[in-house]
Symmetry: C2
Subunit: 124 residues, 2 copies
């Protein structure tokens, strides 16, 4: 089902988890040229789809911050909780290595198999 | 056409431009509860769809930084250029006012009519 045809996101790749806090972003082969000038040591913002939360979790609009029930519920737009109508994650990560269309990064929160939506140079 | 049914983004609202560098995010009425605890003076990251770049621009994988032809072309994943396979913008903005589902923010790059995909508390 395609609810919003005007926003037709095409994943650019997939997250593969490796060890030691590092992940590999496996980009589509046809996007290789877009990696030009990306260098190890640089920081990027990775946008990814939290596919494991793409079901009924999307209807949750208020949660306890950090899942702590002692804290009163807040609206999801005032938090960075993964629960939200569009479960898009944004993680700032360090580029560790680039081999062809495989980009190894450090510090990516995304789960194995998450579709990657974008990679942007980190701002500020 | 829905190319990636597994990433079914539903816009949560629309950008309406107002004067003085301020914009109004007009959220869907059914998402009001998600705004709970958001306060004027706080900062949020707004994710939006750059709908005016959703055509052939998505195939551009290398551009001159800042459009400056004296600078060699770079891959779009090493830049924050709006040209990219998925034209998703991420802007850190200040919340100025909240009235019902209308959130006024300062500093949003998005154009009038841009579908809004997410609002997250600013990190760091």
């Amino acid at each position: 089902m395609c609810v919003s045809p005007e926003v037709d996101i095409k994943p650019i790749g997939t997250v593969r988890k490796v060890s030691g806090g590092k992940s590999i972003i496996h980009l589509s082969e046809d996007l290789l040229d877009g990696l030009n000038s990306l260098r190890p040591g640089g920081f990027v913002d990775v946008l990814y789809w939290m596919h494991e939360l793409s079901g009924r979790h999307r209807q949750v609009l208020q949660v306890h911050p950090q899942g702590n029930r002692n804290k009163p519920r807040q609206g999801v737009f005032s938090l960075r909780s993964p629960m939200r109508p569009n479960p898009i994650g944004v993680s700032r990560v360090e580029v560790v290595a680039i081999e062809g269309v495989r980009v190894t990064v450090k510090g990516l929160d995304a789960k194995e198999g998450s579709p990657v939506l974008d990679i942007k140079a980190a701002s500020r």
